[in-house]
Subunit: 415 residues, 2 copies
């Protein structure tokens, strides 16, 4: 069965916001065997919404819409549903009670008339509970296609999708099993990898699809297959993945399934009972941010320091100022000292340190923009590497962030 | 004139990546007066790509495509261009020389045969230089519609769009002037705001469009207009915006134009010659990450500390342990002490501190999950607030991050 995601809102088309809803919905549908054929983003304009609904009706079995359900005049999705399904509004008492409850319990003020109009819903719609907001979801059908309208606020949409929409989709539609497995590699480009795996790729059965996903310094290789028999599908993909991992064993660092790089780091630290601290000069907090995004991080993450000026590296982190004078602040030597001293300062088993020139200016060093030194100090000593990561600030920071986490995972994975 | 953005790649549809390219392209086109009618994301499948090209041809004057230009077998956009434009490949010597140069200068190895095939391009295409990669952009025309194919790697696409595509679009198409201005407000919901501005909204001229953009704790109000006369369009929007700001003066914190919240904070700090440090407990580095993303941050950002355990707040930050015992670590009092001590530790004019319970566990406090205290210490004293930000970790962190930056901007904006 096929689905289409339609996101509604001028702010998406003028680039004022990035549409993250579609990726979330796509991933959730994929997990339950629904193939997303297309994602369409359109403006809050009546003719465009009606056209998009009609076109999606021709293409797919399930259409999930987000956005345009707010209480203000610029939101017109509900009115378009009325027109497309030739329907009228009725008051839904459950929604009305829910709105009153949200205002009483959470907002602690009386709802305005515009808030109460959220309880007026199309008479033919099945109404889906929006636990975190006042605009309910709406499930309607036409010509054998199901249309579901959800709010555009990501937090509200996510809960509504998971608790209300997906369970109904599972009952309504027969779906095949879709399975993906992704190998993470780093150190070689996609054409180098393709050359190495040519023979394997040519022998790959037609029902397994290979995709190359290059990003900063790493390439992810995704195998996908679809079928009615879950066990057969997964077996076929895993068998090929094993062969692939063997060919690329020198550059493979693991699989990406549900967990991210930082998720696997978290698992290992919890499992081994080890703790971590970070000292981020050029990465400016981005590594700490990723680590602390994981629930339960406080059990292994001791803390972080962002010594954004050279003086702080000597004063708070106690890096020997002669070492900095001799080697400059962006050096293998200073990175090692930072990582080691991080262990002392934060009393952690592992210390991760980054120092580099993110650019565009060079700062307190004579090193080229893009030079980044990353060190990891742990019970087994210090590992350190110097990288040259280009001359674009955002990219240097993102690359250094990824390299640091890759090095950390590598170090933690050793016995 | 109208445009459509088509992004190609299974990874978008299965939600493996978030499509950020579309927002970037949308914002750039909007700046030069090109209206994006639709964004379409489709799979690397020949029939879908051909259908999307044909449909876009009917709808718009300009089609910008990203993705599917890699050297590997799963990338088929170039082959689809050949089919759609009924064209054949020729070797382009400029591209070939560029590929050799990239390998020689940056990658320091010989190109593989698959890399060299990137120099084979459709004979009817105008070729656009991809400064940062080997896959060139392609500009082709059919039935009065221009189609431009660009690589999907954001860094390569951005430079190619700015340096090669937009200048050609400006020459090729007559465009009206599009102008947006966005007011940032915080403290009230969209229905409350709508109620307050009803009279103004009803008197708004038809050619000015109002949009409500709610996000965590804040609502942005965007006014948009389009016309041939730049001065008239901007004057009309600015006039209405002044009226709107006056009505909402108690909740308005400024305009969002090209600059973000953190961008404006940066401007004020540079202008006043003041410095900043942050101590992030519950926000775990996310504020420092935003601040250091701005080029030149090292001139005013002294550094940050992420004291992720209570012990570190007393040991490194020297917060009085009796204060913590008396009020618990998540309290107005401790937040104030953290912000003040941050000024001392980092020798900065301003110190920003966050302490809270991001959840799901409560940690070293008896406070409810979602309780966050934020303090800003500066030359004029300390401002502090306690918030209740819900029970969803990601959302608590994001909200606390936004609240902290809003408070900081408010404090910095005072004379």
């Amino acid at each position: 069965m096929l689905a289409e995601i339609i996101t509604i809102g001028d702010e998406i088309l003028i680039g004022q916001i990035v549409d993250t809803n579609s990726a979330f919905i796509g991933a959730e549908l994929n997990k339950i065997g629904v193939k997303v054929l297309q994602i369409t983003s359109i403006q809050d304009e009546s003719s465009q919404i009606l056209d998009a609904l009609a076109q999606a009706n021709d293409r797919v079995d399930l259409v999930l819409l987000t956005g345009g359900l707010g209480p203000t005049k610029d939101d017109i999705t509900k009115a378009m549903f009325l027109e497309y399904f030739n329907d009228t509004l009725i008051e839904n008492h459950t929604v009305l009670a829910h709105i009153h409850d949200i205002f009483k319990t959470h907002l602690k003020r009386d709802p305005l008339p515009s808030n109460l109009t959220q309880a007026m819903v199309p008479s033919k719609a099945s109404i889906l509970r929006n636990a975190h907001g006042t605009a309910p979801g709406m499930w309607m059908e036409k010509n054998n296609t199901v249309f579901v309208s959800m709010p555009g606020v990501p937090f509200e949409m996510k809960a509504l999708l998971k608790n209300e929409v997906l369970p109904r989709v599972k009952v309504k539609f027969k779906r095949p099993h879709i399975y993906h497995k992704t190998l993470l590699t780093f150190g070689q480009g996609e054409s180098q990898i393709q050359e190495r795996i040519t023979a394997w790729e040519e022998a790959l059965p037609e029902y397994i699809k290979l995709a190359y996903l290059p990003s900063f310094g790493s390439v992810r290789l995704r195998l996908s297959s679809t079928g009615v028999d879950k066990i057969k599908v997964e077996y076929a993909v895993n068998k090929q993945m094993l062969l692939l991992s063997e060919i690329l064993q020198d550059i493979a660092i693991g699989y990406e399934d549900e967990t991210s790089l930082v998720g696997r780091i978290s698992e290992i630290l919890v499992e081994k009972g080890h703790t971590l601290s970070v000292v981020e000069s050029c990465t400016g907090g981005s590594i700490a941010k990723s680590i602390t995004a994981i629930a339960g991080a406080s059990s292994y993450f001791k803390g972080g320091l962002i010594p954004y000026s050279t003086a702080l590296k000597t004063e708070i982190l106690k890096v020997d100022s002669r070492l900095i004078e001799k080697h400059t602040v962006v050096s293998i030597e200073v990175a090692c000292a930072m990582a080691e001293n991080s262990r002392d300062l934060f009393k952690s088993d592992y210390g991760l340190a980054t120092t580099g020139v993110a650019g565009p200016a060079k700062g307190d060093t004579n090193k080229e923009v893009g030079t980044v030194c990353i060190a990891i100090a742990g019970p087994r000593g210090v590992m350190v590497e110097e990288f040259s990561l280009g001359d674009h600030r955002e990219r240097v920071i993102a690359k250094a962030h990824n390299k640091a986490l890759e090095m950390l995972l590598k170090e933690l994975s050793k016995n």
